[in-house]
Symmetry: C2
Subunit: 215 residues, 2 copies
């Protein structure tokens, strides 16, 4: 069975940004407002961070429900892991997600500043410095035959797209949100049409789901 590299539930603004400038502990998405961008996902019954019962079970829910399906590892950029830049001052920071991260698999954090692996509940974070192809090979190995999720941010996804390593992408475009500058995935989703099939599926929540798979 082929192991896929998949982008899932990644939300960008109408102008193609996954986050704004000026990321900090208080503003993980910089000057962008994550509340507006992620409303579609937070409203679904299957949103991994949901704490209350309820939620919708329509189109958007099929997409959030698929988050963990056959996923054996995640790759993320350092900016998804935390707001720090440069050498680690200490190893106190263990991600945004508290003691129960929503990944439940090995996670490979790409950074030029490596540090020892650690485990929170059933998620182990590894810190790797390398080219996308090498990081993907390590993640596939750790995934034990399952697929690998490419968790973002936008710049990290861009690196793997440029290296032609991505098999499928689900990107939710929030057309009413404009970010202007920051971490950009694309100028337009049409840029991927030469290499990918795409289903463009508007949702009643206001986002437009873009489902790409390799030609």
């Amino acid at each position: 069975m082929t192991q896929l590299l998949k982008v899932q539930n990644f939300t960008v603004s109408g102008d193609g940004f996954g986050a704004g400038d000026g990321q900090s502990l208080e503003r993980p998405f910089g000057h962008a407002d994550p509340g507006t961008m992620f409303t579609w996902a937070g409203a679904t019954a299957s949103w991994p961070n949901r704490t209350e019962p309820g939620g919708s079970r329509g189109l958007d829910d099929y997409l959030t429900r698929d988050f963990a399906h056959n996923i054996g590892a995640e790759i993320m950029g350092r900016a998804k892991f935390g707001p720090q830049q440069g050498p680690w001052e200490d190893h106190e920071w263990r991600g945004w997600w508290g003691e129960e991260p929503p990944f439940h698999t090995p996670v490979f954090v790409m950074t030029h500043h490596t540090r020892p692996s650690f485990t929170l509940s059933d998620t182990t974070f590894h810190f790797v410095d390398g080219e996308p192809a090498a990081v993907l090979a390590a993640a596939k190995d750790a995934a034990r035959g399952k697929d690998v999720r490419l968790g973002g941010g936008a710049r990290t996804i861009r690196q793997f797209l440029d290296a032609d390593l991505v098999d499928t992408l689900h990107v939710a475009v929030a057309p009413s949100v404009k970010i202007g500058s920051g971490s950009r995935l694309w100028e337009s989703p049409d840029e991927l049409r030469d290499r990918f099939h795409v289903d463009v599926v508007p949702s009643r929540s206001g986002v437009i789901h873009h489902l790409f798979w390799r030609k």
Copy 2:
């Protein structure tokens, strides 16, 4: 966690039929042509009966991919299990699916003519005579906390809808197919709008996915 009763990947014609008249061993869907109706599902990478690699990974694939997600049991009508009617002449018939049925859970076949349970690979078929609520209680018990799939046919789904026991439905409508008579789910999907939210999602494959969840 609530256990849901879910209809998944159930395809009906534009005029609301799941199968035609005159079901037989040679024609499981009676005078209807299943080839045309199920093209959308057979083209996806995740179709449970797929034997060759390949297939699409867009919208339709999210729906077929969800088939086994958190499902712990299936309920089906006798006509889905086989073409026989009335008392069993013998117990040679063990379903359409060969030695590896695609269910991988307990399956409850509703019939007034019960027979002993049997197991094929990791699927066990039970034959039960009872009202929908009693059959659902038995299936939920067997599902051990997971959800229950209501597999059809249309008349069986109709029974559970009439008893108000269904939590979610995914029905793919093939608008270009007309069957005219047989096993009917509805005159129109709008009949369910009083009790259910619905997302209506057209697919490039030609079917229109209807995703219902209880209000």
